[in-house]
Amino acid sequence: MLTNIISGFSICLQPLNFLILVTGVIMGILVGAIPGINDTLLISLLAPMVMYLPPIQGFLGLIAIYCAGIYGGSITAILFRIPGTAAASATVFDGYELTKKGQAGKALGTAIICSAIGGLFSVVMLMTIAPALAKVALQFGPPEYFSISFLGLSVISSLASKSPIKGILSALLGLFIATIGMDPMLGVSRFTFGSNFLLSGIQFIPAVIGLFAINEIFYQTEKFVRKKFATKSLKITTQLPSFQEFKRIFTTIIKSCGIGTLVGALPGAGATVAAFLSYGEAVRSSKYPEKFGTGIIEGVAAPEAANNASTGGAMIPLLSLGIPGGSTTAVLLSMLIIKGLRPGPLMFLQQSQFVYSIFAGMFIANLIMIPFGLFFVQVFVRLLRIPEGILYPAIFIIATVGCYSLRSNLIDLWVMLVMGILGYFMRKYEFPEAPLILGLILGSLLEINFRTTLLMFDNPLIFFTRPISGVILIFAILAFLFPFVRGCFKKK
């Protein structure tokens, strides 16, 4: 294995291959930062060009875009409250609050370092224990997926500790919105009111952009602007976390890396679920959970480490079993097949040079993401100097085009607006937004796996009798109740 790893690195460090990695990282960061445009779209657009390149070089470019694109979404999430990718949604909660406190540099520095660590961790896992992790992933069936989703939801109690009723209501709203459209199992329409456009359901990206960005624009518009120009004399430089801060968040990073790698290895779960699960775990295990959402670096470190760790995790089922974990890995799988490569257990033996070149490429891409990420942050940060009267309308137009670009469907714009209005009122009356987003992400997973389990086993207790599912579900229930119990003890 060591020989293969060294061979992989030597291939990636050849001048042309290294240049391809650098280009992929730059494109990934830039595209990831644009709301509505994600790495999947860019990889799909570049796929025809990759056809003309040798397999290793073509795949290295795509892998670099994939790794860097996940990080790129955090830049606009932190600076403008618009997650560039769905996976950066959890970063908004504390990232943007840090920007409001004038600590955008610290938030961005934390994001880049934690993203790189997450990516590197998952690549090391990929190199060493990919087949073993793949076997674990195969043990997960519908009951386990339901339990994992429920575990993700259990974080509501931590996120909405001030008003549990509002938090649960917000989560139920999100879960309900996820049911709009065609029933996933029987194909009947639900709450579409005759509209063909709603048959495919409420898309996640317009909903999140509406809930975060449009909500913020309404909020800023409502504020009285005393000066004609709300000028800013911001000097934001990216600050990496100090040694003391790094020591403080180290445990959070490692846990998030583990969560991200494992969740990424589960087909269908993805970087977004990983980010929210790790954010929830960071809240739950923190000595100061009430500080999350007010602007602390732990709130940036957890989701960023997890979402980049999921990139390596997603490659585990792809390369070991030929099962794509999500839309991006599905495109990568198609490229592998077109190039005549067959993913599966034998790939590690028969195509070892290719496989270990990909591992080395991911490792190098996560490393070179740091200097380029720091550079591009300086570029994006200058946008904060733009007067609010120009900046917010411009952000609105970019959000509009980003939503429109998904399906060239105007209904996505109206969804964005409605969610923006909903988010505005929720913010005004202190309903937490995070549980709604969680409900939206996890709703489909919860429902499909719940109904599939009942169909397969016809026994609701199966969730507890299957060992993996039972352990996760009991942990989720305890995690849900723990903040209330802790709150009761604190009052006494």
């Binding site: 009723i165 029987l186 639900r190 120009i390 137009i397």
Partner: protein, 162 residues
């Protein structure tokens, strides 16, 4: 805050309506949970919780009394500005497919910048045109994302650029 109570009541009423509507969803043939059960459970929960919030708010109002002291803040809330911005957005989205991206967006940006308090015409019109130019370049030319061209003469104008 009466607004909060209005919000709770709105959520309650909409959830009740959707809950009743959920029972009209086609049941489907076959085993397993019917498609309407899961959303009905969620909507039932929303109805109950919003009902609790309504009652809680009403009880708190009676306890605290009707005097609510307004906090004097440095930032005054301008609800009229918000209302007009919402109106502008609705008009923009409605005209988006007919005027095309360039014309509709320039009008929108000019209107919104005036609403945000900018007064220098050169900056408003210049910034609007520049922003639209950058977006067309980035999204349409580089990323090959199709943008609406509009109809009739607006389509002809859009075709000059993309």
């Amino acid at each position: 805050m009466r607004g909060e109570q209005a919000f709770n009541i709105t959520v309650f009423i909409v959830a009740c309506f959707l809950f009743i509507n959920s029972w009209t969803i086609l049941k489907g043939i076959g085993q397993g949970m019917s498609p309407n059960i899961w959303p009905a459970i969620l909507l039932g929960g929303i109805v109950i919780l919003s009902g609790i919030l309504i009652v809680k708010y009403w009880k708190n109002q009676h306890k605290v009394g009707s005097k609510i002291f307004k906090k004097i803040s440095e930032e005054e809330i301008n609800s009229k500005r918000l209302f007009f911005s919402l109106l502008l957005i609705i008009i923009y989205f409605s005209l988006f497919p007919y005027l095309g991206f360039i014309i509709a967006s320039i009008f929108f940006l000019v209107g919104y910048m005036y609403l945000m308090g900018l007064q220098k015409k050169l900056i408003i019109y210049g910034a609007s045109i520049f922003i639209v130019f950058i977006i067309v370049l980035l999204f349409n030319k580089i990323l090959l994302i199709p943008l609406p061209r509009g109809f009739s003469i607006f389509r002809d104008i859009s075709l000059i650029f993309y």
